[in-house]
Symmetry: C2
Subunit: 231 residues, 2 copies
């Protein structure tokens, strides 16, 4: 077996072992891992390979090594852990329809929940964003405002799992919004339709009207779908 | 700066650089990366650090190194890339409500789409699974059948993005199903209610009835929610 395959194999074994311990409740954030010697014996590999696998997990940010004290599951995770996976998602080349479907499904739900949970400050923020959207003619700025608009609604869902999932594929989503805007704005009339659609979403949230919130977000995605079909 | 922080920093730089190249369309699956010398010069770090960062990405399965030829973006990704992220999701300790909300949202959509796209073979498979569910009294077997039932519906959505997202958090989902079943089955009557609910979903898919498919999956999640509330 080549050096590379051997290391990948030990890395996979170490990951699997840690995972089982987390599933069984034996390990959680901040907990100390067994010593490298113990792991080497249990998994029947050399200590050098264990050290290399641990090192990979450390650089990724899943594990913290403390000199003289051992290896620990990190207490909090930086973005470094998301990054390789987000690259993988970027390389998969999903179709616009696949991305549209996921976004539509999750954002309608986020918008529904946001109508009940969004803070007044965030609603004010959304109103400000829409005002700025009406005022600017600069597409680069409009795009950033659009992305921010949707992010605020997702975050207001107050569901950390949905927020984290969408974070993992945020580049994918941002790219989708950019392309969708391009396609929508090919039609002159669509600029106003798109602006009004954003406005309608804010109004429904402001009125704390769950049904309207669902309806306005559905309509928003209908505009995107229509534009793709006519393109 | 400690050795560890330095390496993490170079790794982050390398990842960022690769990501930008993918976003701009300069790099895709199977493409050759710039040489380690070029990367070291561009990112203003030593070649040794570049080599270490590349090595981490190689062990993770994102990059393939070919002796004498250079480093390439992998053509396909194994599970090894998903694993560290799935550990992170496991450690986050999301509430059952958060997991329920995500599952409900995505699975109702998957079920809606499956009513149009699911193959007759898969419908037969679902029918077999439900038959086995009725027959067995073994909870371990029932759990596996339940997990398989939902996986088949998700896969039939034919949306690789949704399938991949749910794969990343599959341990989380399986654990949720296990706990939800425990809570539901505390009530004697619920066993039959749960069985009939699975049956109803298959029937709606068999009839290719979109509205019924949505309704039956909604009802399924309503049973889970009710059980949690009465628990």
């Amino acid at each position: 077996m080549s050096e590379k395959n051997k290391d990948t194999k030990v890395y996979t074994k170490v990951i699997k072992d840690i995972k089982e311990k987390i599933l069984s409740g034996e390990l959680k954030n901040g907990d100390r891992l067994p010593s490298e010697r113990e792991m080497a014996e249990k998994l029947e590999v050399s200590r050098t390979s264990i050290r290399e696998a641990i090192r990979v997990l450390e650089i990724m940010g899943l594990i913290e090594s403390k000199r003289g004290s051992g290896n620990y599951i990190a207490n909090s995770f930086g973005n470094s852990l998301f990054e390789p996976l987000s690259i993988m998602f970027m390389l998969q080349e999903y179709s616009p329809e696949d991305i549209h479907e996921l976004r539509e499904t999750l954002e309608i739900e986020c918008c529904r929940v946001a109508s009940k949970r969004m803070s007044d400050d965030d609603i004010k923020l959304l109103n400000d964003i829409v005002d700025k959207m009406y005022k600017t003619n600069d597409e680069e700025q409009s795009l950033l405002l659009d992305i921010r608009f949707h992010n605020i609604i997702v975050k207001s869902s107050d569901n950390p799992l949905i927020v984290n999932m969408l974070e993992v594929i945020s580049q994918l989503m941002d790219k989708f919004i950019k392309e969708a805007r391009k396609i929508i704005l090919c039609e002159e009339n669509n600029r106003e339709i798109l602006l009004n659609s954003h406005k309608e979403i804010v109004l429904s949230l402001q009125e704390r009207d769950e049904e309207k919130a669902i309806y306005s977000m559905k309509k928003h995605f209908e505009i995107i779908k229509q534009a793709y079909e006519n393109y």
